[in-house]
Symmetry: none
Subunit: 123 residues, 2 copies
C-alpha cells in the first residue's frame, strides 16, 4: 500500500474532487455520496479510503453508516504550495501585462479572468 502520496496526486482524480466538493456543504455517508454522484459504491469507498489516508477526510461511525467530513490540513498544503506563485496573478498582474503582450492587451481596468481559454500554443 502506498502510504505517502502527495496531496496533488490525490486531488488529480476528478471523482475525488467531486467527493470533496460534496463534503463542503456537510458531512455525508457513503450511500449519500454514492447517490448524489451516481457512482458505484465500491468506487466511492475506495476513493474515500485514499482521501482518508491522505488526511483530506475523516470518518465517524454512525451505526452501520460512516459519515465522512473534511479535514483542513491537506488543503492548506496545496495553498502553501500555491503561495509561491501568487505574485503572478495577483500583485503583479499589471507588471505581468507589460511582459506578456500576447494576451491581456485590453483595458487595464478590465482584468477579468478567463476560465477555460485554451489558445493552443504554437511555436
Amino acid at each position: 500500500m502506498k502510504w505517502v502520496e502527495s496531496v496533488f496526486e490525490i486531488i488529480a482524480e476528478p471523482n475525488r474532487r467531486a467527493i470533496l466538493s460534496l463534503l463542503v456543504s456537510s458531512q455525508q455517508s457513503v450511500g449519500e455520496i454514492e447517490r448524489q454522484l451516481r457512482m458505484p459504491q465500491p468506487a466511492v469507498s475506495k476513493h474515500l479510503r485514499v482521501l482518508r489516508d491522505a488526511g483530506f477526510v475523516e470518518s465517524r461511525v454512525d451505526a452501520q453508516r460512516r459519515l465522512y467530513r473534511l479535514r483542513p490540513e491537506p488543503f492548506q498544503q496545496v495553498d502553501d504550495w500555491l503561495a509561491q506563485f501568487r505574485r503572478f496573478w495577483s500583485a503583479h498582474v499589471d507588471a505581468l501585462e507589460r511582459h506578456l503582450d500576447r494576451m491581456e492587451q485590453k483595458t487595464p481596468t478590465e482584468r477579468k479572468k478567463e476560465k477555460t481559454t485554451r489558445p493552443k500554443p504554437r511555436t
Copy 2:
C-alpha cells in the same frame, strides 16, 4: 494528443512542480532546468511540453535556446477550486472575510471570481 487536461493532473507530477518552482525566480532555458534539476533533457522537454499545453508556461526563442516562463491563469484555476474549502482552515474569519469582501466589491462584470491577496492562513 490530449489538449484538455485538468490543471490538477498537470501539477500532480513532482518533476513538473519542481520545474514550476524553478521558474518562479526567473525564466530559464531547457538546459538550465536540466542542470539544476539533474534530469535528463528529454524529460525536461516533455514536461515543459505538457506544462505549455496546459498554459502553465510559455516559451520564447533565443537563438538555439528556448526560454520558458510562467503564466498565471492555471494557478488561478487551482486557487479558484481551493476557494470553496478555505473556511476549513482559515478559521480566523478575518482572512476569509477579506477574501469574500473583495469578491463582493467587484463590479458585476468581474464578480465571477477574483483573488488579489493571499489570505495568509493562521492556524
